[in-house]
């Protein structure tokens, strides 16, 4: 796997993502693992279905890596996001950020997950006991005057 930012239909290996950013200059690697949670606001999820506009999603993940490079020049980032059918506890996303010192690894990793939820064309469909729905995180929280998210829009 030479890609550092990729969409996959198969389970994500955490060490595979971590290995990409592991290097002699790093003293810290922060990883964020997004997993499928059973209950959200008291509602029980049976499973999720993720869809992506794959080529654009991979470009946008890579863009997040570049944004991180601008903000934290010593950081190296790798991100993998899974699509398709995911059961409870399954891993949806793995972010790994390595930096020389630990504070930056936390900040950059946090930045990455917030940006994923904002600019990467990936959608999840919740399947509950009594129905299903495509979720749009931004729907209630964001408005885009220009019709699309600008870089300054991060949460």
């Amino acid at each position: 796997m030479s890609k550092r930012f990729w969409i996959t239909e198969t389970p994500i290996s955490i060490p595979e993502v971590v290995d990409i950013v592991s290097r002699r200059e790093a003293g810290a690697i922060n990883t964020f693992i997004g997993t499928v949670r059973e209950f959200t606001k008291g509602k029980r999820t049976l499973y999720l279905e993720y869809q992506a506009y794959v080529p654009m999603a991979e470009k946008k993940l890579a863009q997040i890596g570049e944004e991180i490079k601008e903000k934290w020049p010593d950081a190296e980032t790798a991100i993998s996001h899974r699509i398709g059918h995911l059961d409870i506890k399954d891993i949806a996303v793995v972010i790994a950020v390595s930096t020389p010192h630990r504070a930056d690894s936390y900040d950059a990793s946090r930045y990455a997950i917030e940006r994923i939820k904002e600019i990467v064309p990936i959608w999840k469909k919740e399947h509950w006991e009594d129905g299903e729905e495509w979720i749009g995180d931004q729907k209630e929280t964001k408005a885009y005057p220009k019709g699309y998210p600008e870089e300054s829009d991060q949460l």
């Binding site: 080529p55 939820k117 495509w134 749009g136 220009k146 998210p149």
Partner: protein, 77 residues
């Protein structure tokens, strides 16, 4: 003909993963209006639009061969 990709809820509501549209020339805004008229789906007004895999503003002109995609509110992560 312009190829328009649809995803998530928009794909489900239209029953289409992609639409081939006779859209001679115009902006993203013009395209939104044409689709809104045809499908009566508010989503064509509210979703973001990407051209050739980059987000595009409403005044962006659509060229021959552009790949247009409607991007409903995302929910990855």
């Amino acid at each position: 003909m312009t190829k328009i990709l649809l995803f998530a809820g928009l794909q489900e509501k239209t029953g289409e993963e992609a639409i081939e549209l006779d859209f001679s020339k115009g902006s993203v805004k013009d395209l939104r209006e044409q689709l809104l008229q045809e499908y009566q789906l508010e989503d064509f007004k509210t979703a973001m639009v990407a051209i050739n895999e980059e987000f595009a503003a409403n005044d962006r002109l659509i060229e021959q061969g552009d790949i247009v995609a409607f991007i409903p509110p995302v929910s990855g992560g």
